[in-house]
């Protein structure tokens, strides 16, 4: 007994060291990602399960780590999705770092209790085809998977990729001296090119292109490179039909389908957190727009017929802004985020149509939180790139800018052409020294928020003897968590579970009044619902309340 224990502790130490030391050194490529996942699953077989839930278009495994104890899929779950946009590579580190920290602390009283109540489903990278571009010979920010797509609709595919003209391994910009160009040097930092503002009397002297050649000679540069479809534009909510990198239809891609099928298959998941461009933790969430039927009313609307009235009614059931009672919880979580991580300001966020974070709330009907987790300060009305250069200098980030250097370019013979600009990834991903600290603060944040999960208990259980072996049984179902049992947005969604309240009686008992099985309506945090039954006879009565997304509460009452 004793020897077994000491051996296992020893092996834990031996195995932990390479995994966790490695984590803080640099960004993990796909191979390292898989190694780290496998190591965790091997090290903690009782707590952690690693599964490949599908293959990307490019043939990589889409991984999910399930961390929890007991019947993991039968208790409230949180899904953590990283790299919803492949250029936000920090997500991989935060997700793996979170998993590692959780496992490391699993025997601490706090985390042990948490894992008894909540299961974590961690997707360290939902879009590895895209993320991996960071580790390639030509480095550029990429959001798309490996599916060949004719982005510029010229009926040839992937024919105009980037070219690393100056051979420095990164894709930056081209600037071409052009007396009628649209760009000029920024007054905040001369290295930065900005559109000339005619209203300020500025005239452009440069044209700006991405670093590459116009391979298909259509006047556009690098508009049809390798890939692909962007995971973060391929969700159903606010999906942009025929949008750039949006796919043939929502959830057209193996990555999105695998993740969706997993999430829809886990009814116990009540909240998601994604690391990506969207932020609703430091700024109020927005709906991200609505392509609305009414706004589009065109000629077809000119002569409404007998069916026309129905359109409005159905359209009204759409949800395109956060609902009030959900807002309360989201705001609370945002406050916790700012308090625990100490972040200031708010990052620049993109509201991509078809993004994951909006989908998770509006269409999946779960609490959805999202953050880029790292950003640099930009003062109001200031140029973001110039601000980044200033930030880089102050924080000694080193070589973040490729100085403008004259090159020969086949598309601009006789024109002065230079390559230069801020290196890709640096504006949206922190220097590696920051990772450890970010892992720690985000881990703390997630565990604190997870402890607010919905949780049921049966309180004020009372039996009143009405005489003649007749009893009135009364009780309250109490959600003692801070989160509601289901979001307001998700309450009419067929893919969220309704809580059931059922009563089992011994043979000697009959139910005179009250239902044997019934549904419990949505309960907000710290709210109750009261139920009663009229029973006749003697014996045990067991009342069970709950659903997989809230957990179950049960109570046995003896009538004698």
């Amino acid at each position: 007994m004793k020897s077994t224990k000491s051996r296992s502790i020893l092996s834990v130490i031996v195995l932990i060291l390479p995994v966790f030391l490695n984590a803080q050194v640099q960004y993990s490529n796909y191979k390292t990602l898989i190694q780290r996942i496998d190591a965790m699953a091997k090290q903690y077989p009782d707590l952690c399960k690693a599964s490949a839930i599908g293959k990307t278009e490019g043939g990589k495994d889409i991984m999910v780590l399930t961390i929890g104890t007991g019947e993991r899929d039968n208790k409230p779950g949180i899904a953590l999705a990283a790299c919803t946009d492949g250029s936000y590579i920090l997500g991989r580190e935060l997700a793996l770092g979170f998993a590692g920290s959780l496992l490391r602390d699993a025997s601490s009283p706090e985390i042990k209790t948490l894992l008894e109540k909540v299961t974590f489903y961690i997707f360290p990278d939902v879009n590895p085809d895209a993320t991996e571009q960071y580790f390639q010979n030509i480095r550029y920010e990429r959001s798309t998977n490996a599916r060949p797509v004719d982005e510029d609709r010229d009926f040839s595919t992937d024919e105009d990729p980037f070219e690393d003209i100056n051979g420095d391994g990164v894709i930056t910009l081209l600037r071409v001296s052009d007396s009628s160009g649209a760009y000029t040097e920024s007054s905040e930092d001369k290295r930065i090119m900005v559109p000339a503002d005619l209203s300020k009397g500025e005239k452009g002297t440069y044209s700006i292109y991405t670093e590459g050649i116009d391979n298909d000679k259509d006047g556009k540069f690098n508009e049809d490179g390798p890939g692909g479809i962007s995971f973060n534009r391929n969700m159903t909510y606010n999906y942009e039909e025929f949008g750039a990198n949006a796919g043939l239809h929502p959830v057209s891609e193996p990555e999105s389908k695998a993740v969706m099928d997993f999430l829809f298959g886990h009814y116990n998941i009540y909240a998601t957190l994604s690391f990506g461009p969207q932020d609703n933790l430091t700024q109020a969430s927005r709906g991200g727009g609505d392509r609305g039927a009414q706004g589009q009313a065109q000629q077809a609307a000119s002569q409404p017929g007998p069916g026309a009235g129905q359109t409005g009614r159905m359209g009204e059931r759409r949800i395109s802004s956060v609902m009030r009672s959900d807002e309360t919880v989201i705001r609370l979580v945002g406050e916790k985020y700012r308090e625990i991580t100490g972040v200031k300001g708010s990052p620049q966020t993109k509201s991509d149509p078809g993004n994951f974070a909006d989908w998770s709330y509006f269409h999946y009907g779960r609490y959805s939180f999202s953050t880029p987790a790292w950003w640099y300060p930009v003062e109001r009305d200031k140029n973001a790139e110039a601000a980044f250069l200033k930030f880089a200098e102050e924080n000694k980030l080193g070589d973040v800018f490729v100085p403008w250097t004259v090159i020969e370019h086949p598309d601009f013979p006789g024109k002065k052409t230079e390559v230069g600009g801020i290196k890709p990834f640096l504006m949206i991903n922190p220097p590696t020294e920051k990772i450890e600290e970010l892992v720690a603060s985000n881990y703390k944040f997630i565990t604190v928020v997870a402890a607010m999960h919905p949780e049921l208990e049966l309180i004020d259980v009372e039996t009143e003897n009405k005489g003649e072996k007749i009893y009135r049984l009364t009780l309250k179902v109490h959600n003692k968590g801070l989160f509601a049992t289901c979001t307001e947005a998700g309450q009419n969604n067929i893919f969220t579970r309704l809580m059931r309240l059922s009563i089992e009686t011994d043979k000697g008992l009959t139910i005179l009044s009250g239902q044997k099985v019934q549904r419990i309506p949505r309960l907000e945090g710290n709210k109750t619902a009261e139920y009663s039954w009229l029973l006749m006879g003697k014996g045990n009565v067991t009342v069970t309340a709950g659903a997989v997304n809230t957990g179950f509460a049960s109570s046995t009452i003896v009538l004698k």
Partner: protein, 576 residues
């Protein structure tokens, strides 16, 4: 026991098939002669006054494919939820060109499982085209120019449930937790009298409000207010299987195959019947994959029932990402109105405006995502009972023409909850479905409408070809390309989002120095195409539209003008 090799057996079997066919033909010549518009000398004999199971449909399709190898290719697009093949028959004269290079017309049926006769309509069309190919000039020319892709049932699981078990939901048979209690399909209707029907339940009641009609006691009529009736109706056949106080609230399946398509999709709390995301259903995935590979499809028909409607999109107000353009509207309405004439009792209606809003419907996907012209016929119309819009009494029809064959007589059973009840009413074979004797008539009319649709898909021809010597030893080659049918090569949506490439007109032979479209012949105005003038691009050829082109060429004396259009077909002309 004689053991034969499988191949020998096959040879013997096919030989006997040829002999039987031969004998049948001889017998047919002796006994039958042709009625106008219907094939008489059949290679595949099919009765069109009954319904076919999935096995029956498969059998007919396989017989057609083996009897008409030059016309029919049968393939499986994929598997249903239960693993049945989803068949599509490609029908075209293969000897007159690659079927996938001709304008294609798609037909599917039975997407909704209770709307079964779409399969017979689709199957009839396939059969008719094959059997008439040798007998009718119009059909043989049609199959030289066009290709039909016919998928009689795109919901085979639920079709067989309908045929062999009972009344399925609208959907396929993927389990779904409709009452959100964690149990799947645990409380469906129960066929208590085991007649493969889910009928109505009535019982005698002190609070009754219904009495049998003295004229036809099968019919229950409501008593006037304040009077006492003998019976009450208590819903459709079933019990509360899961004990939650609700009856039949979570049966098999329970979603909607026609709310699952990847255009204007909305989730289930907006659009009931929607599943997780577009193409959640394996049957629809299979069709999507097939259709995406067959961009030559120009038009489509998806058969539903009922009500006698020729439905056109859009299915939501404004059409979502892309509304219908005025040019496309005109063509669609013209075809639809011709359909009204061809199928008496059927009316051309626009889905969102005249019926209801549908998000994620198949029609919007065809039009919006694939750039096709599409209709959905809602088959069967009470008008067909007495050819009279004012007289549509189903009881009378059943009595006078079906001899009460579609009515299940009220029958007493003991219900575990409601006590003694009577089960009865019209069977699943009436109300939405054609009775046998009207099935072939309506199948023919609907098939003819599909044929008309396909006929009107673009047909491109080259004319007015001339080769003229100009200065410097160069030549000017000019030609006119005409679309001789009603539908354009590109719908407005197709052009706007560049779903298909433009019409390419290539000049082969010599060195093409310049190429241009003549925008005004009289004033000699042209629009030059600088890039790749040897392959001129025409963004669209509308119905009956002609475009004149001109090239300046050096060398050669023999030129080939090649027209290639994804949805308009191909043609080649040689000029000297």
């Amino acid at each position: 026991m004689i053991i034969m090799k499988k191949s020998t057996l096959n040879i013997l079997l096919s030989a006997s098939f040829v002999l039987i066919t031969f004998a049948l033909k001889a017998q047919q010549d002796e006994f039958f002669f042709k009625a106008a518009g219907t094939p008489a000398n059949l290679k595949v004999d099919v009765s069109w006054n009954r319904y076919y199971t999935y096995a029956g449909i498969t059998d007919i399709l396989k017989k057609l494919a083996s009897a008409y190898p030059d016309l029919v290719t049968l393939e499986s697009m994929g598997k249903s939820y239960q693993g049945k093949d989803i068949w599509v028959a490609t029908i075209s004269n293969k000897k007159a060109g690659n079927p996938d290079h001709k304008p294609g017309f798609w037909i599917d049926g039975n997407i909704h499982s209770i709307e079964i006769q779409g399969s017979e309509m689709a199957l009839y069309t396939a059969w008719y085209l094959c059997e008439m190919f040798d007998e009718n000039k119009f059909i043989s020319e049609l199959l030289n120019d066009k290709t039909f892709y016919i998928a009689p049932t795109i919901n085979p699981d639920a079709r067989d449930y309908f045929a062999h078990v009972g009344v399925p939901p609208r959907s396929g048979l993927m389990p779904m937790d409709n009452d959100r209690d964690g149990l799947f399909d645990e409380d469906g209707p129960d066929d208590m009298n085991k007649d493969k029907n889910i009928s109505q339940m009535r019982r005698k009641s002190a609070d009754g409000t219904l009495n049998p009609d003295p004229e036809d006691p099968r019919r229950m009529i409501r008593v006037e207010q304040g009077r006492k009736g003998e019976y009450e109706m208590i819903g459709s056949e079933g019990i509360d299987n899961d004990g939650d106080g609700q009856v039949n609230e979570d049966g098999i399946g329970g979603y909607d195959g026609n709310r699952d398509w990847g255009f204007n999709w909305e989730p289930n709390f907006v659009q009931s019947g929607a599943h997780k995301y577009p193409f959640s259903q394996p049957e629809n995935q299979a069709i999507r994959d097939f259709v995406v590979k067959h961009s030559n499809i120009t038009g489509a028909q998806s058969f539903h029932n009922s009500g006698g409607m020729i439905l056109r999109g859009p299915s939501i107000q404004g059409g979502g990402a892309e509304s219908y353009s005025r040019q496309d509207d005109v063509v669609i309405n013209e075809i639809g109105r011709t359909g009204e004439k061809m199928i008496p009792g059927y009316k051309l209606l626009t889905i969102w405006k005249d019926m209801y809003t549908v998000y994620g419907g198949e029609l919007d996907w065809w039009h919006g995502a694939m750039g096709c012209f599409v209709f959905s016929n809602e088959l069967w119309n009470p008008y067909l009972m007495f050819y009279d819009t004012a007289s549509t009494d189903q009881y009378e029809f059943d009595r006078l023409l079906l001899f009460e064959d579609s009515f299940i007589p009220w029958q007493k059973i003991n219900h575990p909850v409601y006590g003694e009840v009577e089960i009865g009413g019209f069977s699943k074979m009436i109300g939405r479905l054609h009775p046998g004797f009207l099935l072939e008539t309506d199948a023919h009319r609907n098939a003819a409408f599909c044929i008309y649709n396909a006929y009107q898909s673009p047909k491109l021809e080259v004319s007015n070809v001339s080769v003229r010597k100009i200065e410097g030893g160069l030549k000017e080659v000019s030609a006119r390309v005409t679309n001789t049918r009603m539908l354009p090569t590109h719908s407005a949506t197709n052009m706007r989002y560049k779903i298909d490439p433009p019409v390419y007109v290539s000049l082969e032979g010599g060195n093409v120095l310049a190429g241009m479209i003549i925008t005004d012949k009289d004033r000699n105005l042209t629009r030059e195409q600088e890039k790749n003038p040897g392959r001129m691009e025409i963004s669209n050829l509308a119905g009956y539209q002609s475009v004149d082109l001109k090239w300046i060429v050096k060398g050669d004396a023999r030129y080939t003008i090649r027209v290639e259009s994804v949805k308009g077909g191909r043609c080649t002309v040689v000029a000297e």
